[in-house]
Structure formats: structure tokens, C-alpha cells
Amino acid sequence: MLNTSVAIRDIAKKLLDEKRVDLIIGFEKGSVPLRSTPCFVRSTSEADRLIWNVNCENNLAKYLPKTKERVAIVAKGCDVRSIIGLIKENQVTREQVFIIGIPCKGMIDRRKIEAKLDGKEIIEAEEKDDTIILTGNNLREIIKKEEFLHNSCKTCTHRNPVIYDVLIGDKVVEDQAVDEYREVKEFEAQSHDERWRSFSDEVSKCIRCYACRNACPFCYCQECFVDSSQPQWIGKTTNLSDTAIFHIVRAFHIAGRCVDCGSCDRACPMGIDLRRLTKKMEMDVKDLFHYEAGISLEDMPPLATFNPDDPQEFMMV
């Protein structure tokens, strides 16, 4: 990890020195253990703040839409897929972004570690190979990284950046065996009533803070349908009907665009299982239109195009 950090700093300095970019977007050490935060570097003297570790889960592609500058961005597999999506949606140009790609073995879910520690405070966390050493008052524990990965990382099938300008570190082996839609299929196997009950239980926790929307690289609309007052599509309450429709339409709006980076899921303060919704959209788009988001710069976004032979069995005959 240290090597990766050093490599990021070197490339950042080089890019800034040669004036190839105006801005580097990467990560720096956060103020608490197991936390890295986005970092914006404009001069070589600041470049040493840049780091890389297993807490760089944020999807920095969020900062790209509508930027006018030339930007170098540190990006994992899922982040690169988001960048591809944003380029296709004309939010940023390929020439404008310099992708510092990093093959990723998965990021760590702090909440899962905290749950295990039962309230004990971590003062320091140190990464060592496949483990993390946690220390604090009455605390010294060595945990295995793979047991605390984010849910989206556990089912990730694109750990290596699909495109990049420079790749730091060796490519990692992609997980071919994982069934990324297992949970969706299990949910589908339930009855209508059970599905409605569990969907409504889940979304009734929502406080409509919109952290999920704000974290999503694809939610860049100037005016979101939830904020529109003319027409006011849905009420601004946490009434079940309003929240349910908010979640249905949010999922609909990222259909064929979502790359399952997990940002929304991580951002939710209420712990709502948002991937249950986004994964279904992803699966259907794949099944119906044979499209996977963020893999190629050439193919058309699935909802912006059509095939005369698209399935229509669902329609009345």
C-alpha cells in the first residue's frame, strides 16, 4: 500500500510539473482511523498528502461532472466504470481526464469492524499484508481484510480498471465464480406480499436526506425530480408512499448507468439496503438489453437506444 501511495505521489508530481493537468483528485489520510478522505492537489508541494489504502472506498468520479479543468483522478475498477459512464453522458471528456488506475482487492467496511468490536474505540489501524492490526484502549486485534469487505466489493467482477492512462500495481485476478445477483434472485423467489413487506419495511427507514443521491456519480442533474416543485412529483415527507416512489424512481434513473460502486449504500445513514434495488436494475438491463454499464466507451446507453426485436412478452396481447 505504501508503494502504491508513493507511486501515486510520483505520478501526481510529474503531471503537475509538466502542466498536463490542473488538478489531482485522490485520497489523503482521514482524521480518524480507517478513514481516508478525498484530497484535491494543485501543486507539487501538496502531492505528498496523497495516499492509498483499504479505506479509499469513495468514488471520486463524483467530482467530475461539468468540471472544466484537466483532472487526474485516482480510480479503482468501479470508479473507472463510472468515469466511462460520465464520458458517455458528456459530463467530462476523455481528453480531460487522466486516469490513474488502481487494481483493487476490495475496500474495508468500517461499520462491520465497529460492529465486531462492541464499542471499543480504535486509535490506530495498521495494514499488514492481508490483515489489519487494530489498537486502542484494551484493544489489540488482528483482523483479516477479506472478512470485512464492503458488500459491493464482495460481489465485484471488475476489480481492474477497464481503461486507464497509467496503472499502478499489478492487475488482480477477477472473481469469475461469484454470483453477483444471488441476493436479487433470492428476493425474487419470495411471494409478492413478502417482497412488498420487506421493501416497505426497508424504505420506511428512509429519512429523505438524499445522501444516497448525492454520493452517486450519476446523480448530477441540476434539478432532481425530488427537488422539483413545478411539477412537484412526490411529496417531501417520509410517508411510505413518498419514500417508496422516491426509491423506485431513483433506481429507475440509474438503470443502465449504475456500476454498483456501492457509494449510495455506504452513504445511507439509516443502513438501507439500496443495492437490493440497484442490483435488480443492473441485472434486468443485462438480461433484457445485454448491456453492462461502464465497460465500453462505444456502445449506446441502453435506455437511449433500442432494438426493434426487444423483448415485449410483458405487454398485453
Binding site: V249, F252, L288, M315, M316
Partner: protein, 156 residues
């Protein structure tokens, strides 16, 4: 579209349960399905009176928000219809719409909204009879499902 006009069409006091009659909103495209409904009318075809028609320029105009808002504000069922594939007045509006409808249809079912509450069809301007039949079918389906409860916005 003025949402409050749309809502006035749907929002009427709920009758007592034993007198319940399904309220169905039909979004029909101007060029085919609306003309199909017109033909049903001038041909004096009988079909259940539960459907309120909203004319839209094209099935491509239908946003899921329109459909969901109907369900939220008292419609028991929604029918969406446009020109048959290949016949769209705007060449491809219905093809693009079909993709949206496919995923919306699956998604609503996934979340436990009863199958049949929201239905999609192609009806041409010549298909007055088919229009009457499909409206009959949707009305029966919704009647079997009973009043919509999921997604309905309760007052207060």
C-alpha cells in the same frame, strides 16, 4: 402536463367497499391508441366505464413518474398504450418507451406491486374493437386485484 388536472380526474371520494368500482387511468398516444379509443366510441362499442383517458403525444412521453403518481393518488390500475412497433408517428418513440416499460414493469413486480395494476399495450387507430377488449380485460384484472393499497398516499 398539469398534475393537478390529472389528479382531479383520479381523486374522488372513495366509495364504500361494497360499491367499489376500479378507477383506471389510461395513457393513450395521440396518433394510434387515442384514435383507437375514438373508433371504439364512434363504432358504439360497449366497454366498462371505469377508465379515464389521458391523451399524450407519444408513448415515449410516458415517464414512470406519471404512472406512479396515478397509483399514489387513487388510481387502482394504469393502462399505457401507444402505436404498434414500426408505426410510431415519431418513428421510434414507442421503441424507446418499450425499454423503459420493460424495466419498470419488472421492477414494480420485484417490489411486490401486484401484477396487473400497471399494464402496457399497443393499440392502433384501426383497432377500436381491440381497445374495447383490452379495457375490458384491464378492468376485470383490476377488479380481481381489488382496490390499490400499496403506494397509495394516505392523507395526513
Amino acid at each position: 402536463m398539469e398534475l393537478n388536472i390529472m389528479e382531479n380526474q383520479i381523486q374522488q371520494p372513495r366509495e364504500k367497499v361494497d360499491e367499489w368500482e376500479p378507477k383506471i387511468i389510461a395513457f393513450l398516444c395521440n396518433w394510434c391508441s387515442y384514435a383507437g379509443a375514438d373508433l371504439a366510441g364512434v363504432s358504439r362499442l360497449q366497454y366498462p366505464p371505469n377508465t379515464r383517458i389521458i391523451r399524450v403525444p407519444c408513448s415515449g412521453r410516458i415517464s414512470p413518474l406519471l404512472i406512479l403518481r396515478c397509483l399514489q393518488h387513487g388510481a387502482d390500475g394504469v393502462l399505457v398504450s401507444g402505436c404498434h412497433p414500426g408505426d410510431c408517428h415519431y418513428i421510434s418513440g414507442n421503441y424507446v418507451a418499450r425499454r423503459k416499460f420493460a424495466i419498470l414493469n419488472n421492477f414494480l413486480e420485484y417490489l411486490g406491486i401486484e401484477k396487473g395494476r400497471v399494464q402496457f399495450a399497443w393499440i392502433s387507430a384501426a383497432e377500436g374493437k381491440r381497445f374495447a377488449e383490452l379495457v375490458q380485460k384491464v378492468t376485470e384484472d383490476v377488479r380481481t386485484l381489488g382496490p390499490a393499497t400499496r403506494l397509495v398516499r394516505k392523507q395526513g
